[in-house]
């Protein structure tokens, strides 16, 4: 019997505000423990939350980007549970009246087809602090760092429209590129800026009723998400095929051991006893506010892709690759602006730059070569100072920091293409003089076959010039000289 997987995602996105959602403490990553946790974040008695406008603006931007209804009257609730990294004893979140209503996101599948994944809603909430179980402190104790407590999040909840791990990853990547393009999240997955909870169930193909689902929590990379889904789908099918049943439970995936375990089952699940937060009034965003946010929306990846086709005459394929990631798109546009050659810029970024970044597991923002430097390389190809082959050497030199511009490296390594006709002529003469046998063959050959025989001579000359001879000029001079001999 064939099985079918049903997946829904809950995605926590840390908003790129300077301060917490309900306090004026900084959200900067990497500060010393508890130096960015103020009296409000620590739930000191007598403190009250003061809501951060920027968090609402960012949430509205996300809502507009996915064509969702914006909750013009949004309400905060208390979700009550005890945990040491939650000083108030409740998380301030939204339940009945979230800021972003239903919307959708279109993903592109491997075969090029598209699929719409519906978003149920997205709500604003605060992040908790961090518990550290190992460190420079007494055994049997946990350390609590509340710097993260109160960082604004939007939790994006999808409908169970996702059918496998490929779609889940495509959806997650799409969200990632969208929130970065909007500038509402820094997208730094390794710092926890985006975390995924995956709800998974399986059922027999054709079955209407959903199977019992489990939730694998807190995945912070696309790769871990893919692995965790594969593992959980396999586990559920095994259990069911052995005649067992799935327990509704929360699971944790361990990326080091590639295993998962149950965290808590539904029976002992928390009852969160939500109720509207009396410390916060409903937040009302009027049409004028939402319009003002709409005016400030940056260009979205989909629009940018189309503009790349129109403005730079890129193929749809190239435009899609270059526009999907905002940082790559910015890098591309900065390069084109300085070298005025979109096609060459696109080729270099999708080719050499990507290959090197992938090999070194770097992102474009960590590229040792900036757009100005890349544009410098391209400019020298265009004015025939260097060939494509030499350009790769120059690129490598820049990558390794052997110089700070293409010109310095070309100068220092003497890589400039030789276009001086006198020098080129003597190179040609020398090769002709040293290639007696080949010259005899050339003379005897059928004139129609002669062009094909030029390769040998060009190769010898390029070798003699260490690749620096201007190939077009070499060709012209060679043909002229050989014709004189025949």
């Amino acid at each position: 019997m064939e099985w079918e997987t049903v997946i829904g995602l809950e995605v926590h996105v840390q908003l790129a505000t300077k301060t917490k959602i309900f306090s004026g403490a900084s959200t900067q990553f990497g500060a010393a423990p508890n130096t960015q946790a103020c009296a409000i974040d620590l739930a000191m008695p007598g403190t009250l939350p003061v809501a951060n406008e920027q968090a609402f603006r960012y949430a509205v931007m996300f809502g507009l980007a996915i064509d969702a209804d914006i909750g013009q009257r949004s309400v905060f609730e208390r979700k009550n549970y005890f945990y040491p990294d939650l000083p108030k004893g409740y998380q301030t979140t939204q339940l009945d009246a979230p800021i972003v209503g239903a919307g959708q996101i279109e993903i592109t599948l491997a075969d090029g087809s598209t699929k719409a994944i519906r978003i149920h809603h997205a709500h604003l909430e605060e992040d908790a602090g961090k518990s550290l179980h190992e460190g420079d402190f007494e055994q049997g104790m946990s350390g609590i760092d509340l710097n993260r407590a109160g960082t604004p999040l939007i939790e994006i909840v999808s409908e169970p429209d996702i059918s496998n791990s490929d779609e889940a990853v495509a959806f997650a990547k799409k969200l990632h590129s969208l929130v970065i393009a909007l500038g509402i999240c820094d997208g730094e997955m390794s710092q926890g800026s985006m975390r995924f909870d995956v709800n998974i169930s399986v059922r027999h193909k054709g079955e209407e009723k959903l199977g019992t689902r489990t939730e694998t929590k807190n995945l912070n990379s696309f790769k871990f998400m893919e692995e965790a889904i594969a593992l959980e789908v396999e586990r559920q099918i095994d259990v069911l095929e052995d005649g067992g049943s799935i327990r509704q439970e929360t699971r944790l995936y361990n990326a080091d051991t590639k295993t998962a375990r149950a965290m808590r089952s539904k029976e002992e699940a928390n009852d969160y006893r939500y109720f509207p937060c009396p410390d916060l009034l409903p937040v009302v965003l009027d049409d004028a506010y939402i319009d003002s946010v709409r005016q400030q929306m940056p260009e979205l990846p989909i629009a940018r892709c189309q503009r790349f086709v129109d403005e730079y005459a890129l193929s749809a394929y190239d435009a899609a690759i270059l526009s999907d990631n905002t940082h790559i798109a910015n890098y591309f546009e900065a390069t084109v602006k300085q070298c005025n050659d979109a096609k060459l810029s696109a080729n270099w970024i999708m080719g050499e730059v990507s290959a090197r970044l992938n090999a070194e597991e770097k992102t474009i923002t960590q590229s040792p070569i900036n757009p100005t430097q890349l544009a410098g390389v391209i400019a020298r190809i265009k004015d025939n100072s260097i060939s494509n082959k030499i350009a790769k050497q120059v690129f490598d030199g820049l990558w390794l920091g052997e110089g700070d511009s293409a010109d310095t490296i070309i100068e220092a390594k003497g890589l400039k293409q030789v276009s001086d006709s006198g020098a080129l002529e003597s190179m040609v003469d020398e090769v002709i003089a040293n290639s007696g046998a080949q010259i005899e063959n050339y003379k005897k050959a059928d004139p129609e076959k002669r062009p094909k025989m030029l390769g040998y001579f060009v190769g010898q000359i390029m070798k003699a010039s260490k690749g620096q001879a201007n190939p077009k000029m070499i060709n012209d001079i060679l043909i002229k000289k050989l014709n004189e001999l025949v």
């Binding site: 505000t17 300077k18 301060t19 306090s23 004026g24 403490a25 900084s26 010393a32 423990p33 508890n34 130096t35 960015q36 946790a37 103020c38 009296a39 409000i40 620590l42 000191m44 003061v50 809501a51 951060n52 406008e53 920027q54 968090a55 609402f56 309400v75 009550n80 549970y81 005890f82 945990y83 040491p84 009246a97 518990s131 550290l132 179980h133 460190g135 420079d136 402190f137 007494e138 049997g140 104790m141 946990s142 350390g143 609590i144 760092d145 509340l146 965290m263 808590r264 928390n270 009852d271 006893r273 509207p276 009396p278 916060l280 009034l281 409903p282 937040v283 009302v284």
Partner: protein
């Protein structure tokens, strides 16, 4: 938990000791067994008052999320609170390397 679903159907389903114990656990409070009857009765009588309120027709009434007829003021996204760790940790039972220490919690 049964409690949440049953709260407005008290005639058929009054709150029982188990519900009170579960709630007490969630609230991390300890209710002695000899008090359990009393607390259970009290909660049931409070809930029957709520039950009575539930009888009122609210079909055309918009739910009220807050007793004040006002909306939330928002603040600008500017850092106003800087590091005050030393003072804020002054009354913490245990700290180390800037962390608050609590009895170990691993779920």
């Amino acid at each position: 938990m049964a409690f949440a679903q049953n709260q407005f159907n008290l005639v058929e389903n009054p709150v029982k000791h188990d519900d009170i114990n579960a709630l007490a656990h969630l609230a991390r409070i300890n209710i002695n067994d000899d008090l359990l009857d009393n607390v259970t009765d009290n909660i049931n009588s409070i809930l029957s008052l709520v039950d009575q309120l539930q009888q009122a027709s609210t079909d055309d009434v918009e739910p009220m999320y807050h007793p004040l007829d006002a909306t939330q003021q928002l603040r600008a996204d500017e850092v106003t609170e800087t590091d005050n760790r030393q003072a804020l940790q002054a009354n913490a039972p245990a700290t180390e390397a800037g962390l608050f220490l609590v009895p170990q919690v691993i779920e």
